[in-house]
């Protein structure tokens, strides 16, 4: 008979079921980073001059920057000259014109991940852009969306077909000077998703991007740009997985959201990058800059994230609340197990009048995991009657993990109101035994307690993904029970 302590520790031994590698011929740049590599990436993508100029400016700026040292994270120094900055499945001829021409091995990969791209088996009601290593391999439901004037395509395609939109909005929320990883991304990003919802259009289906890292020793740098024009609304989901590899891999993405007058964007993430093994070997370093601007009045942006993967997570999906009466929301569940570390949270910058923000953060630590919430709530002078409510809860499983909270509050307007609540709790052996004594298995008991802890966040996810997230959490904390 196993003891409750053993079983809690047993949850450390989770299995990662997306750890397979796809055997495709790739075309890669040599390792290292210099202006030639950037010219190569830009050239591969046949980019207009303005893009190359922007990349080079970003790169030159990046050279002057240092990695941030303030996060509560420990990892050996990263040799940025050691990574490969461009890798793509080899194209035959001029490249696929439609999904029918995509390498069957790639389609198979996405099928294995539960994301069928083929016309007949596509997920009903969800349009998917699939990004494999450095490139987008295909986007579903494009034509159907185009009927409504919605542009949903690979970033590289947007650069070719809608350069005016890209020029106008790229870097407008996250400038290349913003931070070390954003500058790096701006210099070398290879692809990603682009989305534009025209005036007054409600996007009729969920849009989603599915990111997959495959090649070894390759960094993935993608860029997502979503613009919701006046009165438009869209719900967007992002998912990510990677093979199990012994070395760490770098992922540095940038996401920019722009909401104009009365527009709404709901951005949900289920992040399941390979977290490394039970000894902390391997796993993705996830350094991501996500930021939204509620540019127009009455606009609304909602970030929901379920973070279960990555060896290291460094990410603060933020909202700049510029428009009067605009609303920003952040709902987060972050799980760290084994030797995973997460330093995550949000920034809510209130500039407009009557702006409101809500932050609900749930951190779960197990094994030797270290979980930090870091959040900034800033009320500018102009933010009359602005309000914020923050709630940060931490749940500990076992006694070798840690939870940390770093809230920052800056208020420059006396009519602004801020509320902050925080709690830390532990799944105790007492709770497990109590559940056992009522007939529930230890696994069910832990799932029940963890799901109860996260329900305020799961409620915010689109229906089908909420179910997915619950399952994922079960797997993340699954172990050899009994």
């Amino acid at each position: 008979m196993s003891t409750a302590t053993e079983t809690i520790e047993g949850f450390v031994k989770k299995e990662y079921k997306y750890g397979f590698v796809t055997d495709v011929e790739t075309e890669s740049a040599p390792p290292g980073l210099n202006e030639d590599i950037i010219r190569l990436i830009s050239g591969k993508k046949n980019e207009p001059q303005f893009m190359l100029d922007w990349r080079l400016k970003s790169f030159r700026h990046w050279l002057t920057m240092k990695e941030p040292a303030w996060p509560h994270l420990k990892y050996p120094p990263i040799d940025f000259q050691d990574a490969v900055y461009y890798s793509a499945p080899k194209k035959h001829g001029s490249g696929p014109k439609s999904l029918d021409e995509v390498d069957p091995k790639l389609l198979e990969t996405y099928e294995k991940l539960g994301i069928p791209l083929k016309e007949r088996e596509r997920l009903a009601g969800v349009a998917v852009d699939a990004v494999f290593d450095s490139v987008s391999v295909g986007t579903t439901f494009k034509e159907k969306l185009a009927e409504k004037g919605i542009i949903f395509c690979a970033f590289s395609e947007a650069v070719q077909n809608h350069p005016e939109l890209v020029m106008k909005y790229l870097g407008s929320v996250v400038p290349y000077t913003d931070n070390f990883y954003a500058a790096l991304n701006s210099a070398v990003f290879s692809d990603g998703s682009f989305c534009y919802i025209p005036k007054g259009v409600r996007c009729p289906m969920e849009l989603s991007t599915y990111f997959r890292i495959n090649a070894a020793n390759t960094g993935q740098f993608e860029r997502t740009l979503i613009v919701a024009d006046e009165g438009a609304s869209v719900s967007y989901l992002e998912g990510c997985t990677a093979p199990m590899r012994d070395e760490h891999q770098l992922h540095a993405a940038v996401v920019e959201l722009i909401a104009l007058d009365n527009a709404q964007i709901k951005y949900s993430t289920v992040q399941n990058w390979y977290p490394g093994d039970a000894e902390g070997k391997g796993g993705i370093y996830n350094f991501v800059t996500k930021r939204a601007i509620c540019k127009g009045k009455n606009s609304r942006v909602s970030w929901t994230q379920v973070e279960t993967g990555s060896a290291i997570t460094w990410k603060y999906p933020s909202c700049i609340l510029l428009g009067d009466n605009s609303v920003g929301e952040f709902y987060s569940v972050a799980v760290t197990n084994n030797y995973q570390q997460a330093d995550t949270g949000t920034k809510m910058v209130h500039i407009g009048r009557n702006t409101r923000s809500t932050i609900v953060s749930k951190g779960i630590s197990a094994g030797h995991g270290q979980n930090s919430y870091r959040g900034l709530v800033k009320m500018q002078k102009t933010a009359t009657n602005a309000r914020n409510f923050s709630q940060c809860d931490s749940l500990l499983l076992g006694n070798k993990c840690g939870a940390h909270t770093f809230p920052y509050i800056e208020v420059k307007n006396s009519t602004a109101r801020i509320e902050h609540e925080a709690s830390t709790s532990k799944i105790g052996e007492d709770q497990i035994f109590y559940c056992n004594q009522r007939g529930l298995s230890t696994q069910d008991a832990v799932n029940m307690i963890v799901n109860g802890f996260c329900k305020e966040v799961f409620r915010e996810l689109p229906m089908e993904f909420a179910v997915e997230a619950q399952k994922l959490l079960g797997v993340s904390l699954e172990g050899s029970v009994g």
Partner: protein, 257 residues
């Protein structure tokens, strides 16, 4: 089948971290019986309850426990529960974020699955629960709250008996259910327990005070001291203990050793 004892404890020796606490307990409980175990602090009452329920950290060094003829000590705690052994906790545990209804429905369905009964859906479950709530005079809003979170001491104890009423166990072990209860709550809890008595189930009532036994009248009273049952009698033994204390039983025993 009905002649088989529900519980047979034979020469049970158990302890915590190498410290011996139970030193040869013998106890047989038949269907339809109510047994009370009394004794001063530190005599091993709660250890007995913990060992029966399979709480981790308690080590059985000798002896045997048969539950309806099966080896109880060989079962996981959840298996014991599904087989119909219920422990009303001395200190019921709070589980924040887990809705009481959801919790109890999951528990009941585990038990039903084990018994080969179909699982109840939400509506069937709520109907069942409403009847049982009346029995313990519990307010319905309690079902919408998290398990035991923010409950008063009395509410927690009543909630334990309420769960017992829903799960319909074969053997209920009540571990100091009377502690921390005022007289009104004590009456409600006892009434609940008494209503659940039947010729097919049994109850083991662990208590410090005779007071509870005015309401839950036992068939047998056992005096536990230093890990052994020193004396067994009927309900009059409890009254005698109330009057004379434990010394008249304990002292001669101690002198004899």
């Amino acid at each position: 089948m009905s002649n088989q004892p529900i519980l047979e404890v034979k020469n049970l020796n158990a302890g915590v971290e190498g410290k011996k606490i139970l030193k040869g307990i013998n106890l047989t409980i038949n269907p339809g019986e109510v047994h009370a175990v009394m004794g001063p602090n530190g005599s091993g009452k709660s250890t007995l309850a913990a060992v029966l329920a399979g709480r981790e950290g308690y080590e059985v060094t000798d002896g045997q426990v048969l539950y309806c003829g099966k080896d109880l000590l060989d079962m996981d705690p959840e298996e014991r529960a599904r087989e119909g052994l219920f422990l009303a906790f001395q200190y019921p545990v709070e589980i924040p974020g887990v809705n009481s209804t959801y919790f109890l429905k999951a528990a009941l369905n585990e038990v039903r699955k084990h018994r080969g009964l179909p699982e109840l859906d939400a509506i069937e479950f709520l109907n069942l629960v409403k009847d049982k709530m009346k029995l313990l005079e519990l307010k319905e809003d309690l079902l919408r709250r998290s398990v035991n979170e923010g409950f008063s001491g009395g509410e927690k104890k009543r909630n334990e008996i309420f769960q017992m009423a829903v799960l319909e166990p074969k053997l209920s072990v009540l571990d100091e259910t009377d502690s921390g209860l005022d007289i009104d709550a004590l009456k409600i809890v006892s009434q609940g327990v008494n209503r659940l008595r039947s010729k097919d189930n049994a109850q083991l009532v662990i208590t410090h005070y005779q007071r509870l036994l005015n309401y839950i009248v036992p068939d047998f009273v056992h005096v536990l001291f230093d890990g052994r049952i020193l004396r067994t009698g009927d309900k009059t033994l409890a009254l005698e203990l109330e009057e004379r204390g434990y010394d008249w039983i304990i002292k001669p025993e101690a002198a004899a050793r």
